[in-house]
């Protein structure tokens, strides 16, 4: 798999995801500066976590307007793959790659802890390393992860199998207490219509190494590698 990670000013999980990608592919992914206007030939573009441009206006808003994002949108339109993690999810939404919006967490605090996710759609190149219904443990770390969409959009996401992950309790049950940010329908990650763009708030790259206390994030990267083998 040829992977590239976009580096925005203020990205701070770019290295973390590069490590996870390198672990899975055996070679370092390309780092692409936000001022570039063309992408190299890539199977996967990752929009990493962080605070691009300080997230000062709305999370992801300024990054979505940076020069490289035209190329990223074109890459997605050509059916190639884009993975947006945390701030990258916010950027993908602001760039129109995914529907809805990410509002301030319902509790208004930044929240950093492990959460449980239920894999809702295991039939995508991003998620085929899991089985549908699997419950995995992955950290979140964000201030604006409260997923919002109008009722029609939510209904479409549900109906089209585009909810990739939902927050849940350790036993897989839904429940308000398991939802760390107030997201509509406990949504933690969604796919675009074609299924080639995934955005999620949790950080699979942070639990992809046993030394960090878990490896539930790793199958996402290994599955992507297999998909592009």
């Amino acid at each position: 798999m040829k992977a590239g990670v976009i580096v925005f000013p203020g990205s701070n999980c770019d290295r973390d995801v590069m490590v996870a990608l390198e672990q899975a592919t055996g070679r370092p992914p390309a780092a692409i500066w936000h001022r570039e206007t063309v992408l190299p030939d890539l199977d996967l573009v990752v929009l990493p976590g962080g605070f691009s441009y300080g997230d000062y206006l709305r999370a992801g808003a300024m990054a979505a307007q940076s020069p490289i994002m035209r190329a990223v949108v074109a890459h997605a339109e050509a059916g190639r793959h884009v993975l947006g993690i945390c701030n990258g999810f916010q950027i993908a939404i602001e760039a129109g790659l995914l529907p809805g919006a990410l509002l301030r967490n319902a509790g208004l605090h930044f929240v950093c802890r492990d959460v449980w996710l239920r894999v809702e759609n295991a039939a995508t190149p991003f998620t085929r390393g899991y089985r549908g219904g699997d419950v995995i443990r992955v950290p979140v770390a964000h201030h604006d992860g409260n997923y919002f969409a109008d009722p029609e959009t939510l209904a479409r996401l549900r109906g089209e199998g585009r909810v990739a992950f939902r927050y849940c309790a350790a036993d897989g049950d839904a429940g308000e207490r398991a939802n760390p940010n107030g997201s509509a329908d406990d949504i933690a990650g969604i796919l675009n219509e074609r299924g080639n763009v995934l955005g999620l708030m949790p950080h699979p790259e942070r639990l992809a190494d046993p030394a960090l206390g878990g490896t539930d994030g790793r199958p996402m990267f290994t599955a992507l590698v297999e998909s592009f083998a």
Partner: protein
Amino acid sequence: MKARVHITLKDGVLDPQGKAIGHALGNLGFDGVNGVRQGKVIELDLAATDRGAAEGQVEQMCRRLLANTVIENYKIELID
């Protein structure tokens, strides 16, 4: 010329900050607060001197960056 852009959340969009403020006001003993919404104001100091040109420019800024029209409405006010 100065422009002021008022950005408010659309009706029906949850406003966690407004809700929290309402809650906090209640805790402080203020009653009779039926609802709270929070919005943003962005003040721009523009070199443009022509009203029409300035308005067009700010409209563009709102569409491209300042507001997210999925969740927000904006209103532009020009000052002299």
